[in-house]
C-alpha cells in the first residue's frame, strides 16, 4: 500500500466517524424537589457542597442497618455521572453529617425541625432537617437525622427489603430530594415500594446537584 492509497482511505474513515453526533440527555421526566418553606414564602434547594464530599454517615449498628444504608449510598452514587455525590459510613457519630438511628422517630425536639415521614407496611422512616434563617441565608444544621424502625417484630418477619427501601428513600431526602412524589415507581414516593431508583429519581437527583443551593449546611 502506498501513501496515494492510504490518504483517501483515511479521509473516508474520518468522514464515516464524523457522522456520529453526541447528544446529552434532557433529564426529563423529573419532579419537584424543593422544600416549600413557610407556606410558600420561599422554596429551599440543597445539595452537598463539593468540599464536604464524601458525606460522612453514621449508622446505628442494629438490624443490619449499616448494610442497608451502604446499599442505598451505592445506589445514589450510581445515579451521578460527575461525582456530585459520595458518602462513606463512619464510626464516630459526633462528626457525622448524617446520623441514622434504628428507632421509631421520636417527637420533634426543636420547632425548627422539618420532618419528612415515610410509612411502609413493615417499617417506617423519617428524616429531620433542622433549618433556620440566620442573618442572610437559610442554614441546614448538621447532622441530618434519619430514623428507620420496624413496625413488627423483626425476629418473626423478614423486614430486610422494607429497610432497604426505607434507607434508600431517606437517603434521597438527605441529598436534597425534599418532596414526596405521586408516582409509586419513584423511590421518593411518599410510601415507597420501588425496588430501585426510577429514571425520574435519577434525573431529579442530577438536577438537584446542579441547581443553585439556597440552603447551606452548617454545624
Amino acid at each position: 500500500m502506498t501513501a496515494r492509497h492510504t490518504l483517501p482511505l483515511a479521509l473516508l474513515l474520518a468522514g464515516a466517524l464524523s457522522c456520529a453526533e453526541a447528544t446529552s440527555p434532557s433529564r426529563v421526566p423529573n419532579y419537584e424537589w424543593r422544600l416549600v418553606w413557610e407556606g410558600g414564602l420561599d422554596t429551599l434547594s440543597f445539595h452537598w457542597p463539593e468540599d464536604m464530599l464524601p458525606v460522612k454517615i453514621w449508622v446505628e449498628d442494629s438490624l443490619d442497618m449499616p448494610a442497608r444504608v451502604q446499599e442505598g449510598v451505592d445506589d445514589w452514587q450510581g445515579a451521578f455521572l460527575y461525582g456530585e455525590y459520595a458518602a462513606v459510613l463512619v464510626s464516630d457519630s459526633s462528626s457525622a453529617d448524617v446520623v441514622v438511628r434504628v428507632v421509631t422517630p421520636p417527637p420533634k425536639a426543636i420547632a425548627t425541625v422539618n420532618r419528612l415521614n415515610t410509612l411502609l407496611p413493615g417499617c417506617e422512616g423519617a428524616t429531620d432537617l433542622d433549618i433556620e434563617f440566620i442573618a442572610t441565608q437559610y442554614e441546614l444544621r448538621l447532622p441530618v437525622r434519619m430514623y428507620v424502625a420496624p413496625r413488627y417484630d423483626p425476629a418473626t418477619t423478614d423486614l430486610t427489603e422494607c429497610f432497604r427501601v426505607t434507607a434508600r428513600h431517606e437517603l434521597g431526602h438527605s441529598l436534597g430530594l425534599f418532596q414526596h412524589t405521586s408516582d409509586s415507581r419513584d423511590i421518593m414516593y411518599g410510601n415507597p415500594e420501588a425496588e430501585g431508583l426510577s429514571a425520574r429519581d435519577i434525573n431529579t437527583a442530577q438536577l438537584v446537584a446542579h441547581w443553585p443551593a439556597n440552603l447551606i449546611p452548617t454545624r
Partner: protein
Amino acid sequence: MRIPYAFPLAAALALAPAAPAAGQVRLTAMVGVTGSSALVTDQIFEDIELKPALAPTFFLSASLPVATRLRASLDLSYGSSSADLTESGQDASDLGSIGVLTAAVALEGPLVSRLSWRLSLGVIEYLPSEETGLFSDGVPVAGLFGAGLDWRQPLSERWSGVAGVRYDFHLFTTPTLEAAGFSGSQQVSRVGLAIGAAWDFQ
C-alpha cells in the same frame, strides 16, 4: 464492548507485514505533551465539560521499510493527566486522573527535506483512576485514526534527533453514559507535540 486483546492484536498486525522485509529497523522514543478536546459535553442548567488536562506523554515506535520511500511502524503512546470537569467554564468536581494508552499501525514516508508524514490506524484505551460516575462500568476501547509529521535530524550514523507533531481522532462514550441517555459518541481530537531520539540498526 471491551477488547482486552486489542493491543497485542495491533502489535501482531503491525509486525506481520513488516517481518519479511529486510531493512533497517528504526526505534524512536519521544516525550511530549498531548492536549485533548472534551470527552463529554453535557448540560444540566449550565454547560458541563469533561476534558483531560494537558498530559505528559511517552511515544514509542518501531518501524521497518516496506517499500521505496515507505515504512510501516508500530506506535505506542501513554499519557496521564487529571480529568478536569468544568461547569460554565468554572472548575467543578474532581474525577481523579485518567491514563490514555494508544497502539497503532502506521505508514510513514518522506515529505520534504527532513520532514516525514505518517498516517496511522489503531486503538485507544482510557484508564481512569477511579471507576465511578461515568467511568463506573469502564471505558470501551475505541478505534483511532491518526496523522503526524516528524522532523528527523541525523546526529550520527545511527542516531538522530526527532521532533514530532501528532493528531488523532476517535469517538468516546461509556456504557454508563449510554445508559444515562447519551446518544451517539463524542468526537475527540487530540494533538501531541514531542521530541526524542531515533536509533537505526540492521
